[in-house]
């Protein structure tokens, strides 16, 4: 396959970036998208050029590193698929492919396609956990969990924190991410003691970090590689409004 790539190149956080064009002649349809970029980078190194920086780690769709917007869609054209699991057979010979970093004030570009997503860590630190004393693990069957809650909590727990929801959201909101965490922990018995304060604190942190507000457009769910349901956001809203009305506070 012959491909024309237009990739966002930006030398440093403060440098002015621009789209740069590259032509690749020898792309195999069986390559993953990241392998295709590896081929490009090998070529760039041989040509004494700076290779394209991009995040990647597991390359099996579970780490959430491979953040890039491909032709205007976060993680590219295949639904429920991370960039690393996207294969070149989904593109045609002669295609031009635009590759850009996530765009959000809370995710500043570090270099090329690499963004700083530690804002998500801040949201997690605000309440994305349960407080338990460490020690020997209790018997797993001691606390009953009904099947529906277990399934829904697990669906939400599959969130890998890649940030595609923010990248796709016309409001630049991280609502799907935050709501996945709130839903995951809020549906399980172990998450109940901190349920109200978790929802309020995680949302407050999200608002504080310059993420936009959710307007229920649904673009996040469309690009989410894990298919986190939009209803997670309803769960977050439910917990936030309930906690607000009840006057929940954690100090």
């Amino acid at each position: 396959m012959k491909l024309t790539l237009r990739i966002w190149r930006q030398a440093s956080p403060d440098a002015k970036g621009k789209m740069k064009k590259y032509v690749l002649d020898d792309v195999e349809p069986d390559m993953s998208f990241l392998e295709m970029l590896d081929v490009l980078n090998e070529k760039l190194v041989l040509d004494d050029e700076d290779p394209v920086s991009f995040d990647h780690d597991c390359r099996e769709g579970i780490c959430g590193s491979c953040a890039m917007v491909i032709n205007g869609t976060a993680h590219g054209p295949q639904k429920n698929t991370t960039t690393c699991q996207l294969h070149m057979r989904h593109f045609a010979d002669g295609d031009t492919i635009d590759i850009e970093p996530w765009r959000a004030k809370a995710f500043p570009v570090i270099k090329d396609l690499v963004t700083d997503r530690s804002a998500f860590d801040e949201i997690i630190k605000a309440g994305g956990y349960i407080s338990v004393n460490t020690g020997s693990a209790p018997e797993a069957h001691a606390i009953p969990v009904d099947k529906v809650s277990a399934d829904d909590a697990f669906d939400a727990a599959t969130c890998i924190g890649c940030g595609a929801c923010v990248a796709a959201c016309p409001n630049g909101s991280s609502m799907l991410f935050t709501s996945a965490k709130v839903t995951h922990l809020g549906l399980l018995p172990q998450g109940q003691p901190e349920r109200a304060t978790r929802a309020i604190n995680m949302l407050a942190k999200q608002d504080e970090l310059d993420f936009g507000g959710c307007t229920n457009v649904g673009a996040c769910h469309e690009v989410c590689p894990k298919g986190i349901p939009l209803a997670s956001i309803a769960q977050l809203n439910h917990d936030v409004l309930g906690a607000t009305l009840a006057g929940a506070r954690s100090d």
Partner: protein, 231 residues
């Protein structure tokens, strides 16, 4: 873990993006109920000039013994104006927040993700707001009506829609209203946390049906004047 120090319920609600959305959902619900009542009133046009004008007069006389002439009408107006202010305030605040959240946009135009109705909420809302100003000047105060303010409500309506561009603007505005309700009603349900993965399809369908019914219910009046059904 330190929670924000906002202790009173107003600042705790207004201070978060979800709180602002809930204000928009409540005020939007007020508009929706009003718009349905308004549409039912409009449809009396098909029962002739006497029924329509009597209805218009009746609106001014409801609860007169307690609230005085036009008292209830002014109460409704007060509620609506308050709701408009809060709805638009929250909307512009979230709009500004969204602009701030993505200072640098994408080079490749984003593919169409999410519904058309959802994407047109903001400009659709602006169109509806401009229309409402015109609509009040036309049919309430009569400032821009060919017959002026003191004529029969029925005759003012017919005279207004006899201008094709006014009828067209009206239809465009109610279509915009339809899109606004199609997303707004579902979005309000989601904001109150009543959505679930199982119910989502049904809730969206419900919102689209309500929106379509309201759009048709309003658009049928100018269409009837244009086609000569209502004279």
């Amino acid at each position: 873990m330190v929670i924000s120090p906002q202790r009173n319920i107003v600042s705790r609600t207004w201070g978060t993006s979800v709180g602002k959305k809930s204000v928009m959902a409540v005020t939007g619900g007020i508009f929706l109920l009003y718009v349905i009542a308004h549409m039912i009133g409009n449809l009396k046009i098909f029962f002739g000039i006497e029924t329509f004008d009597a209805y218009s007069q009746h609106l001014r006389e409801i609860g007169e013994a307690i609230f005085g002439y036009e008292g209830v009408l002014w109460l409704i107006r007060l509620v609506l104006v308050t709701a408009v202010v809060l709805h638009m305030w929250a909307a512009f605040s979230l709009w500004a927040r969204a602009k701030k959240a993505r200072p640098i946009g994408y080079q490749h135009r984003q593919s169409w993700q999410g519904s058309y109705a959802a994407r047109t909420m903001r400009w659709g809302g602006v169109i509806i707001a401009l229309f409402v100003i015109w609509h009040i000047l036309d049919l309430t105060t009569g400032t821009v009506n060919p017959l002026g303010g003191d004529e029969s409500a029925y005759l003012k309506l017919v005279a207004s829609f006899d201008r094709w561009y006014v009828a067209l603007f009206y239809i465009v505005a109610v279509v915009a209203l339809g899109f606004h309700i199609a997303h707004g009603l579902w979005s309000a349900i989601q904001t109150f946390g009543a959505n679930s993965a199982l119910k989502q399809h049904a809730l969206k369908t419900f919102s689209y049906v309500v929106a379509a019914a309201i759009t048709i219910g309003f658009a049928i009046v100018p269409l009837s004047v244009m086609t000569g059904l209502v004279r």
